[in-house]
Amino acid sequence: MISPKEVRHIAKLARIGLSDLELVKFQKELAAVLDYFEILQEVDVSSVAPMTHAVPLANVHRPDETKTKANDMASRLLEMAPETKDGYLKVKPIL
């Protein structure tokens, strides 16, 4: 069964801040779902190749051409960001 410590670790990997109350709730719920996944242990897949996509497409190419976008597309995209400065996204210090 997944431990509270593991849930905290997973939440950190997933960049999700959890309250202590959420941690308890998610531990129980994740454990139940992971337990359900155990049904796959019944299946023998020793000689089976994994399937990654429903459609066997490979190497889809397109010409390397410059396309013109609507003039204000860059500003429209930037407007949706929480914080910008001089046409760039603004982020907090990493260190």
């Binding site: 997944i2 997933a14 801040g17 996944f37 049904i39 299946v43 996509h53 459609v55 929480p82 907090k92």
Partner: protein, 471 residues
Amino acid sequence: MDELTIRQLHEKLKNKEFSAQEIVESFLKNIEQKDANLHAFITPTGELALAQAKKVDEKIARGEEISLLAGVPCAVKDSILVESVRCTVGSKILENYIAPYDATVVRKLRDEGAVFVGKTNLDEFNMGASTENSAFGVTKNPYDLTRVAGGSSGGSAASVAANEALVALGADTGGSIRLPAAFCGVVGLKPTYGTVSRHGLIAMASSLDQIGPIAKTAEDAEAVFEAICGRDAFDATSLAYQYESLYDFDVKNLRIGVAKEFFGEGLMPKIAELVKAAIKKLETAGATVREISLPHAKYALAAYYIINTSEVSANLARFDGIRYGKSASRGQNLLDVYLQSRGKYLGAEVKRRIMLGTYALSAGYYDAYYLKAQKVRTLLQQDFAAAFADVDVIMGPPSPFLPFKIGERTEDPLTMYLVDLYTVPVNLVGLPALSLPVGYTQELPVGLQIIGKPLQENLLFAVAKDLEKLA
């Protein structure tokens, strides 16, 4: 005006029996009267619809040809972008997000002259089977307001059932078109993977997601599908595909497979009875019915939720409080921005799936979960291929039970996942599947799921149209 099909509406528009504006006003009036109770829409777009209708009317006035979908009131699931309209995907994190461009499917419908009446409610990021996971409240079932409309495209299905829109766009990752279609008594198609561009669809699980139509009749759903399918340079997984209706369909040549795995424990007896009665009608009309087996179907749900959550954990990394949407940036450094923004603005089911997927993909667990699930997927594909050697379509129920009461399944996430039991196998293999209403019990609609071979949407529509005639 509520009872018209697309083709009838088109003829009446051309004959100037009424204007596109009058059509739109009639549907907007339904929204105004019903949606306070139903809550099919997150963002109604009446002004946009009227402006679009005006253009159609001007075209008709100038004596120009109009396309089949011109003036058709269409609702759009709120995970699909409509330029300059808010797109929330049912989440607080995108509550104020304005779409900077049209999704390819929206652009195609816009070019055809379809009018957009609003953005419909859904489970947050398409994650759920009832719209109860929406951050903006639940959509009620038009047949019983104490019950769910299904999900995740619940708003789209309910809007069509309640005549708030003539047709709607939904998106189906594990049943999100077919289940609400069944719950609301309308027709819904999950197309073959790759036939419809996903450009402009907010991604949940990229190897499973497909956009598809919801309508009151198979013919209407077919018209929308024909308009939205085809190769798109903006979606590298889209196929060069052109739809052609099947004009020489004869039910006498149809071989129907019935999989015992879709009639297992937990299926409500009355649903089994109605689904079998529909199949019997086709058999009486000349179709052949055979029992087939999909031995790995019982593993599909577990494999699906491993693959779904794994892809979710990657796709939703972009909602970081930096690039789009809301940010909770009280912290001092970048990590705090991530943790707080995602912690505060993502809902419980979304967090649950991101964490499950992160776990399934993390070091030491990848082989046991993700890789194993992808191998089970191959086995399921082999099951379907073997079955389709002997039959043309496979039929069964889209849902093991009737629309459930609001709140009935929210306590335990796993009980909600089990709703998807009969719908997910199709997504794992990429097959097309259609749900259409075949009867009622306890005054609630019951659907039939018809599964086809890849790219045989035309056969699904032909069978569905035949069934509608036999009903």
